[in-house]
């Protein structure tokens, strides 16, 4: 495992046993023809795995997920190098909707609900690509409502007028409605109340365990992410700087210090953080 700071990040099939459902190999992403954001990112999600993608703001997590789901083009970004394979098929050239039809859906960062549609209509658009009949869709709607009772209460409000957390639930619920094989979750916990964060991860876990859905999770809340994930990648400035099994990452000193907030003497208080820039060891 590439945990030491000085070895270059090397690629190693995580949890070697399971075959990969998603394989991102050495991709480079450029925005606006000039801004190079990803500088060779490689990662693998095994079938039925939960993989966390961690990293500071602006590291390129969102960009990675969008590259996979092919939403980059809409942002004038493009993948200029490398390859992306989903379920054994090269997908760089597919349209986002083809990808959704194949079972890979993204929950976008920053909610992106359809403001003028009601919560329920939002959820139903999630089932747009499904062809398995209204009954099943109804059932899934009920399932989402049982996950998020709050959504049921607000089902007929326009999403644009619901609170931030409600929208976040709506965005997640909407993705679930497509019955995906793989979900790309971009910061699902953002803006959710603590007990809900826990619940969301429980839902993710149960989907993963019961339905075999694979998950790629970009998350700032490292603590929770690493508790639920099986494997993790750490991204810094467009490069993977470290990867390893979640448990191992949790024990890593750097990760502890920079992502979990536990220094040598236990959890630091936010009140006492000092005004100096600590340097990450792998950056020095």
């Amino acid at each position: 495992m590439a945990l030491s700071s000085d070895t270059a990040p090397e690629i190693e099939a995580p949890a070697a046993a399971a075959p990969a459902i998603l394989d991102v190999s050495n991709i480079e992403v450029i925005y606006d023809h000039v801004i190079l954001v990803l500088k060779g990112v490689t990662l693998t999600v095994p079938k039925g795995g939960i993989v966390a993608l961690l990293g500071a703001n602006g590291a390129g997590k969102t960009t990675t997920l969008k590259a996979i789901s092919n939403l980059l083009r809409a942002e004038r970004g493009e993948v200029t190098k490398g390859s992306i394979t989903f379920a054994g098929e090269r997908v760089e050239a597919l349209s986002p909707n083809a990808l959704v039809t194949r079972g890979c859906i993204q929950v976008m960062e920053g909610r992106h609900c359809f403001g003028h549609l009601t919560i329920e209509e939002n959820l139903l658009t999630g089932a747009y690509t499904r062809r398995d009949g209204g009954r099943r869709v109804r059932d899934d709607l009920d399932m989402v409502y049982s996950y998020f009772p709050r959504l049921k209460e607000r089902r007929s409000s326009q999403a644009g007028y619901t609170s931030g957390g409600e929208q976040q639930m709506c965005a997640i619920g909407r993705a679930l409605m497509s019955r995906p094989k793989m979900i790309l979750l971009d910061e699902p916990s953002m803006g959710l109340a603590p007990q809900l964060v826990e619940e969301i991860f429980e839902i993710v876990k149960s989907l993963n365990e019961n339905e075999g859905v694979s998950i790629l999770l970009a998350e700032q809340n490292t603590n929770v992410a690493l508790r639920y994930a099986t494997y993790g990648y750490i991204l810094e400035s467009g490069r993977i700087v470290m990867d390893g099994a979640a448990a191992a990452l949790r024990e890593n000193e750097d990760v502890k210090e920079f992502y979990l907030g536990v220094g040598g003497e236990g959890r630091r208080s936010f009140r006492n953080v000092k005004h100096y820039k600590r340097r990450k060891r792998w950056l020095s």
């Binding site: 703001n57 709050r150 609170s163 931030g164 603590p194 619940e199």
Partner: protein, 274 residues
């Protein structure tokens, strides 16, 4: 532990001289059609404190801030700010009277640079007349430069020098939040309302942000009202916490007290997981 020590500290301070009330919310109710976002809530914010507002999603926290700075008009109740009672006011009046704010969904001016965004916080203070602006000489230029100095201080303070000239739309989320704080600070408010300033940040950034908030609070003596879902942060940096649940107030007091409150645990915190 350090944190606890600090908190006891505050309570001592409070006991010694309860600071004067800066803002008082009294029996405020707000409904949208059938949805009761806020029902009959009262609390106060004292001068110089960090006041946290917490509660489950959809509890009405953001709506509360919207009421305070005049974006929503409550059907009932009053807001008293610095002794002046208000029922209805326009947002710009709130801004004028010294209330600044950050937003849950970043509300920066996406097409403008970081510098311009923060400068925009000083619009209210820039009043050199239009005709000098046309020439951009003399008073107009001096004024611009004076404000630029203040803004550069804020930029230094928030450590965002390197993105000074970047259009904010292109910045990653965390930096956007920081710019937004900068913009609010540039208004030199007496009351600063922060709506989930740390959502979507990693630990390091949250630590930085906490530092900024506390510094603002101490150095500029700005009173702060803070909505945040990260209990670690809330418990550590706030002086008093008010807890909302579906429009009702279910708790109000110092952090430990609130943390121990069974209603709050049921409605919001769930199992403690620290």
């Amino acid at each position: 532990m350090a944190a606890v020590a600090e908190m006891t500290d505050i309570r001592d301070r409070e006991a010694a001289a309860p600071a004067e009330v800066l803002l008082e919310v009294k029996n405020v109710s707000l409904a949208f059609g059938g949805v009761k976002a806020i029902s009959d809530i009262s609390f106060d914010i004292r001068k110089g404190e960090v006041r946290a507002i917490i509660g489950p999603n959809g509890a009405g926290k953001t709506s509360m801030l919207n009421v305070i700075n005049g974006f929503y008009h409550p059907q009932e109740g009053t807001i008293t700010f610095e002794g002046k009672v208000r029922r209805r006011m326009r947002p710009y009046e709130a801004a004028r009277s010294g209330i600044a704010r950050t937003f849950q969904n970043v509300a920066l001016f996406r097409g403008m640079t970081t510098l311009d965004n923060i400068m925009s916080g000083r619009t209210l203070m820039m009043r050199k007349n239009f005709f000098w602006q046309v020439l951009r000489q003399g008073p107009a230029l001096n004024e611009e430069i004076a404000h630029r100095h203040r803004v550069e201080e804020i930029i230094d303070f928030l450590e965002i020098q390197h993105i000074r000239k970047t259009p904010v739309g292109k910045l990653p989320y965390g930096l956007q939040k920081r710019v937004e704080l900068g913009r609010a600070l540039a208004m030199e408010p007496r009351l600063l309302l922060l709506d989930e300033p740390m959502a979507g940040m990693n630990l390091e950034e949250k630590e930085d942000m906490s530092r900024f908030i506390l510094d603002v609070n101490q150095q500029f003596e700005t009173t702060i009202a803070l909505i945040e879902h990260d209990m670690g942060v809330v418990m550590d940096i706030s002086d008093r916490v008010v807890v909302l649940d579906y429009g009702k107030k279910i708790g109000d007091g110092p952090p430990d007290e609130v943390r121990a409150n069974q209603d709050v645990i049921d409605a919001y915190l769930g199992v403690s997981h620290e």
